[in-house]
Amino acid sequence: MGQFERTLIIADKGSKVHYIEGCTAPQFSTASLHSAVVELIAMEGASIRYTTIQNWYRNIFNLVTKRAVAYKNATVEWVDGNIGSRLTMKYPAIYLMGEGARGEILSMAFAGEGQHQDAGAKIIHAAPNTTSVVTNKSVSAHGGKTTYRGLVEIFPGAVGAKTRVKCDALIMDEQSSSDTKPTMKINERRSTVEHEASVSKIGEEQLFYAMSRGLSEADATAMIVNGFFDFFVKELPMEYAVELNRLVKMEMEGAVG
């Protein structure tokens, strides 16, 4: 069973569009494939935000190509949530082709038992005074595996380009793992590049504090993980935010370790 889809959004000059999708599937008895291509073109001054919450069933292979082009003074934002599927490979990309173009990629991933979330971001600065921000946070629990694969490339002539990448990983137990593979190809000296990454487990003090206020360990853990994802959840429409918090809490059950 396979699903192959293609989405193309072209935002004309000065226009604005926010596209939201929630991906889910019933349980199939055999492994299935979801392979999709999403292309966004933001013309001069346009703004496109594309939000995805992916919660495919656990035996679905999810391979996605997402690529956007932002022209002069345009903005493209990928808001990418990954909770389901057995394997997700998805690296939303933004090509900043016009002066003043801006790109932002917010991505979150939760990998539970038997899951591998291989997500990331690609930003290409091919024009002057372009800016980009990448924020990626992932949690792995119950033996799950998360990978961040990122690329920031600044071409010669992209004077004044500014980019900031932040990727944080939370590993809940000894069976789970996380890999971070960022790449930066900087070919323009007159640019500003920032990168920070962290990997941690839940702080004992945070957990102790929450539990001393009457929360069970499970509830405290779920609350802390939801807080970790707050940067992402607050960008979602209300119904999606509530649903995502609930899904994360469900995934966290039994994750205390």
């Binding site: 082009v69 090509y95 290409i124 091919a126 071409f155 010669p156």
Partner: protein, 75 residues
């Protein structure tokens, strides 16, 4: 190096796609545009300009001189 015949005029470009570093010689020449066979990037062989993504940087061009049956390229 790649020699291209555009309606009787010869142009020479470096046989390298600036997107992935592979060769362009198996690509189709449509008028003055050559398409990279691997990912579809187009280059203008008369100027070297990259016309479509995924190529961004232009490809190098070389002056061509034709004398009788001889073609001279300055590289």
């Amino acid at each position: 190096m790649l020699l291209c015949n555009v309606e009787g005029t010869l142009y020479a470009i470096e046989d390298v796609c600036t997107h992935d570093g592979g060769e362009l010689d198996q690509g189709e020449l449509e008028g003055c545009r050559i398409m990279c066979p691997r990912h579809g990037a187009y280059f203008d062989v008369t100027t070297g300009a990259a016309l479509t993504l995924p190529a961004i940087l232009p490809v190098e061009t070389f002056p061509v001189r034709v004398e009788g049956d001889d073609v001279w390229v300055e590289a």
